[in-house]
């Protein structure tokens, strides 16, 4: 950006390798906690919704409003109460995973054919066995698809938390913008995209392992 400067200064990258590794770790931790907590909340909510379907429209409406509020605005609305803390970042990040996850968990469970459910009940399965041995395994592909979207979205959004004093790779992007120095900017942006792609690929691999029957079946 400064005339005469190369777009990437490899000596900067080389001298900042430990720094970069640390930010990658922070980034994964911030995004990982958010997707983990988001999944736990959505999963519990989905089980309630499975029993009481009328809960779905109001719950998805609330999650939809949270999803619509821009990330920086949501963080800022929390700052007066929870400060420039990791808690502020996580509340915001978790909020964005909820709509994506609950749609896929509820959708996956509702997609289980009624005949399959009847057959399991006819064979003497209890409600709990039905859920864990029949419904969840069959819904797994749709649920994992939701986790993939949530993970990729969250890894992208985590960069924004640099603005509220949290790190992750967004720190480099912000540094690059503030000091007109393209090297950290590109390092931060490229690594966050690479991280999203790698995590997405890893989740696909996990899904393949968890659903061996999918390879044997129709596809």
């Amino acid at each position: 950006m400064t005339p005469g400067e190369p777009l990437i200064r490899w000596d900067w990258v080389q001298s900042h390798l430990p720094d970069i590794a640390q930010r990658i770790g922070e980034h994964l931790l911030l995004a990982g906690i958010a997707v983990g907590v988001g999944f736990a909340l959505s999963f519990v909510a989905s089980l309630f919704i499975a029993r009481r379907p009328w809960l779905y429209p109001p719950v998805s409406w609330v999650f939809g409003v949270l999803y619509t509020i821009p990330s920086l605005a949501l963080f800022s609305l929390l700052i007066p109460f929870t400060g420039l803390s990791i808690l502020t970042a996580e509340i915001g990040l978790v909020s964005y995973t909820l709509l994506i996850l609950i749609r896929n968990i509820v959708g996956g469970l509702r997609g289980v054919p009624a005949e399959v459910r009847d057959a399991a009940l006819g064979m003497g399965y209890t409600q709990r066995q039905l859920l864990f041995r029949v419904e969840l395994p069959l819904a797994l592909a749709v649920i994992v698809a939701g986790i993939r979207v949530a993970a990729v979205t969250t890894i992208g959004l985590t960069t924004v938390t640099a603005l509220i004093g949290q790190g992750g790779l967004g720190f480099f992007i912000l540094e690059g913008i503030l000091f007109f120095f393209s090297t950290p900017l590109i390092v931060g942006a490229v690594l966050s995209v690479v991280l999203a792609i790698l995590v997405d690929g890893a989740l696909v691999a996990v899904e393949r392992r968890a659903t061996p029957w999918a390879r044997l079946g129709r596809s």
């Binding site: 920086l72 800022s76 700052i79 992208g156 960069t159 603005l163 509220i164 590109i186 942006a189």
Partner: protein, 241 residues
């Protein structure tokens, strides 16, 4: 009740900030900032739609290029908005456009393209083949098929794509303040820098409101634009995002 004290005091501060006439006038006044935000977002959305709608509709109509259309969406999701903004900055500098409006605009357009393109493609592709066969059997030309059958039937999903793009653009226009753009993000970025939580909070509140209003406005637009017959056949769960 002790914990409620600071919250009430803070909300009173926010109210006082909002009621201060000085915050409603001039180049940093609320009307100016809202205007800047809407203008930047609308311009970026218009350009994104002008690029993505024809491409998405053409691909969906011909049934070709599905691979491209779907992958554009996936790439769009993986690219964080802050990263797009970061990439736009060197581009704007190389073109001698400076800081502020242009780098933000350059970032917002590619951000809006994937949701519009993918939804337009999927919407056209998902039009019932039987309906198209019937139209062809009645002697409709290709362009008539597109204008009189496919587009009206695909409209709800096409509009949903534009709506998603609009909300994403309004949200990211906020981040533009980091590269010295105007708009409501100024209150947030300046509030953070100056540690003025009341300014920060008001900015965040206005941005959130603008995003929700944008979403609602497209909902109303869809209700007006989509033919009643199409609306009836579409099940409630089709709020495709």
């Amino acid at each position: 009740m002790g914990a409620a004290g600071p919250v009430v005091t803070f909300l009173a501060e926010v109210y006082a900030w909002l009621m201060d006439p000085a915050h409603w006038a001039g180049s940093d006044g609320i009307p100016t900032r809202v205007g800047e935000h809407v203008q930047l977002s609308a311009l970026a959305l218009a350009v994104a739609a002008a690029i993505a709608l024809p491409v998405g509709i053409a691909l969906g109509h011909s049934g070709r290029g599905g691979f491209v259309a779907i992958n554009v969406a996936n790439i769009g999701r993986a690219l964080p908005s802050l990263a797009i903004l970061a990439f736009a900055l060197p581009v704007a500098f190389a073109l001698n456009l400076g800081l502020g409006f242009w780098p933000t605009f350059i970032a917002l357009v590619p951000l809006g393209i994937p949701p519009i393109l993918t939804n337009a493609f999927v919407a056209l592709r998902n039009v019932d083949r039987d309906v198209i066969e019937a139209g062809r059997g009645m002697g409709l030309a290709d362009s008539q098929l597109l204008r009189q059958l496919e587009l009206p039937l695909a409209l709800p999903v096409v509009i949903a794509g534009v709506r998603n793009a609009a909300v994403a653009i309004v949200a990211t226009a906020t981040l533009g303040a980091v590269v010295a753009s105007g708009g409501l993000g100024r209150y947030i970025v300046d509030g953070l820098a100056l540690r003025e939580t009341d300014r920060l909070f008001v900015g965040a509140l206005l941005v959130a409101l603008l995003a929700i209003v944008t979403e609602l406005a497209f909902g109303i637009f869809e209700r007006v634009a989509v033919s009643p017959g199409v609306r009836l056949t579409r099940a409630a769960g089709a709020r495709a995002r």
